[in-house]
Symmetry: C2
Subunit: 200 residues, 2 copies
């Protein structure tokens, strides 16, 4: 698909057809594109946890949602997604990369970093997966993993302490009950509102 | 251009043809695509500072680099970029958005956020600009603004304290002296290294 068409069509989809799994070659392309994201110092401080079987996905939802969520229609629909990919950022890889001789930082002081590029770069990798899903005729959603479930998530999947899930990407074919987010009623902020030319 | 071709071709370019400005319609498309990035709760807590005239760009380089950098060949080449777009994240917009009634958070406690989506979403907007430059036959680079120059940058351009530049996107036609980053010698980390299936 044309790039601009992919950008125009991309949106968060929150219901999936439970009878149509994600083809293996599409899953592979999502990941191949993800690792083409840019990263500061080519640190590539990221990892991707791929959950496909019903058991693997069930473990994810159980570990990251509350009992009270069970009645939530959001969760009912999201659980139908046949593929979950959890992108994780690895801050230590960045601190180590910039302590190497060509970068010239002689310590691993986090204060040298204006913003957390480990999270930003892993976010860029996530966006490439969202866009690739659209390019392949599928749909996807990016959503957060609540901090109170972080420890449980790490335990269930054996994730090391120094890797942090920046969210989760659900992927599948769009479901019949997909609803647009009520947040969209807020409207898109136009260029005249967010662009500053020459100075603020 | 086909989406997958754009993803494959995208790379950081660090020298630009000083005689070829960025066409106005390309600049506009970069920004139109940037604001199509996803954002948590559709918060859209971002802004874009567009610097085009030689004076505007000179002010940016003077504010964000050291005297000692003057001899730096990186800077000599990067200064040739005819267009700079500084993406800024606005954390306060996210904290306020999630204090609204439909989100149900009754405070603005930053601890509710597992990762800084204000920076991640603004990073996604930046990646859309990098990709759009490739789609339009131009080149771009995303680079950081050092924390020690943050206050100076804000003063020079009148940027409010609660907006943080997550970096800068330089855009132009690729220059004759573009060199690949030495960081690329590190090699791309393959899928077998970064992908975990079912569990870690």
């Amino acid at each position: 698909m044309e790039f601009s068409e992919v950008v125009r069509r991309r949106r968060m989809v929150r219901d999936y057809d439970p009878d149509r799994p994600v083809p293996g070659e599409v899953r592979d392309r999502l990941l191949e594109h993800a690792i083409r994201a840019p990263s500061a110092g080519f640190s590539q401080g990221w990892a991707f946890l791929v959950l496909e079987s019903p058991e693997e996905r069930e473990r994810f939802w159980t570990a990251t949602t509350d009992e009270s969520d069970a009645a939530d229609r959001w969760l009912t629909r999201m659980r139908r997604a046949p593929l979950l990919i959890v992108p994780l950022s690895h801050k230590a890889a960045y601190l180590e990369r910039y302590a190497e001789s060509d970068k010239g930082w002689t310590d691993r002081d986090e204060a040298r970093w204006p913003v957390p590029y480990w999270d930003i770069d892993t976010g860029m990798a996530s966006l490439l997966m969202l866009l690739t899903a659209v390019d392949e005729g599928l749909a996807a959603c990016f959503f957060g993993v609540p901090p109170e479930h972080l420890a449980g998530f790490r335990t269930v999947f054996g994730v090391p302490e120094d890797y942090t899930p920046i969210g989760c990407v659900s992927v599948g074919y769009v479901g019949a009950e997909d609803r647009r987010s009520p947040s969209l009623r807020r409207g898109r902020r136009g260029l005249e509102e967010v662009v500053h030319r020459g100075r603020w």
